[in-house]
């Protein structure tokens, strides 16, 4: 899970709304939620996928 996705996650666990979380990152609430879901799916794919996709961390993990 990338750094931004982790921070999105911990804020969500702490009970902050997506609107509050979005304001922290300068994005909309929906965008925050989508970015989080996307980051999670990527992490899950990397953990569970059997494809030889052990690529080095690329630009897609650069989540500013």
């Amino acid at each position: 899970m990338g750094a931004k996705t982790r921070r999105l996650f911990v804020l969500s666990v702490l009970g902050y709304s997506w609107a509050e979380i979005g304001r922290k990152f300068g994005i909309t609430a929906h965008n925050a939620e989508v970015q989080f879901s996307y980051g999670l799916k990527k992490a899950r794919k990397r953990l569970l996928g059997n494809r030889p996709s052990d690529r080095p961390r690329s630009g897609s993990e650069r989540e500013g």
Partner: protein, 238 residues
């Protein structure tokens, strides 16, 4: 490498709930940090919990993810801060409701001697008509010869009044009335006549007055049917 396109799909609510519960269990217990390395201290945790998330530094969040004691303490402070905010909101709403209630409670009392708002109407003489209502139905009056001592605060009329509408005491009869405004028993500042008529179960005596030359203060408003005794009501001209 180009970014993959984000699809506009989020987790289902159930998936999100399960994930958050798992995450909470993880953060609360899987990072003991017994030496409390890098911990910011309870004051910092309390301060951060009272702030909006947009002002929480990223390194602080990163620490929370790797220190269970700090995560637990922060979560506790956050719950406390949210409780206080809710209480402040409830108190503010309650205070506002109380203020509105007090305003409505006192507003009618301030206008007790003027039943209706003063209606300003341009008459033919270009003098603005101001109607003042004096409700004497339940007020106690003194009769001729007695001291006009009021049991309650005097009724008041503005000096700008051009018309007095007097609701006569219950039991008063229709007909011609003399009305006077007396500074003392022998000194009247206003003398007028009017006819009392029954309307909406009230006996209303209406007279035109000019109080512009009457000094503010307490006076005795006297009224009587001709050849009857005067009845007085203490009023205040304001």
């Amino acid at each position: 490498m180009s970014h993959s396109r984000l699809t506009d799909e989020t987790l289902s609510r159930e998936e999100e709930r399960r994930l958050l519960r798992a995450g909470e269990r993880l953060f609360r217990s899987h990072f003991p940090n017994p030496d409390r390395t890098g911990c910011p201290g309870p004051e910092v945790l309390r301060t951060m919990a009272s702030r909006k998330p947009s002002s929480i530094p990223d390194d602080f969040l990163d620490h929370l993810m790797h220190c269970s004691p700090c995560f637990v303490e922060y979560d506790r402070q956050l719950a406390r801060a949210r409780r206080m905010r809710r209480l402040r909101t409830i108190a503010a709403c309650g205070g506002l409701v109380a203020l509105i209630g007090i305003a409505f409670w006192f507003a009618p009392g301030a206008l007790h001697s003027v039943e209706q708002p003063q209606v300003a109407v341009e008459g033919p003489s270009h003098r603005t008509e101001v109607v003042a209502v004096l409700d004497l139905r339940n007020a106690s009056q003194a009769r001729g010869g007695e001291q006009a001592t009021p049991a309650e605060p005097p009724l008041s009329i503005p000096r700008t009044a051009t018309t007095l509408q007097i609701y006569l005491p219950i039991g008063s009869e229709e007909g011609l009335y003399e009305v006077g405004l007396f500074r003392s028993q022998d000194e009247s500042v206003i003398q007028a006549q009017g006819t009392a008529e029954s309307s909406n179960q009230k006996m209303i005596l209406q007279i035109n007055v000019d109080l512009s030359n009457v000094a503010p203060g307490e006076y005795a408003l006297g009224f009587r049917r001709p050849e009857f005794l005067w009845r007085y009501q203490v009023i205040e001209v304001q």
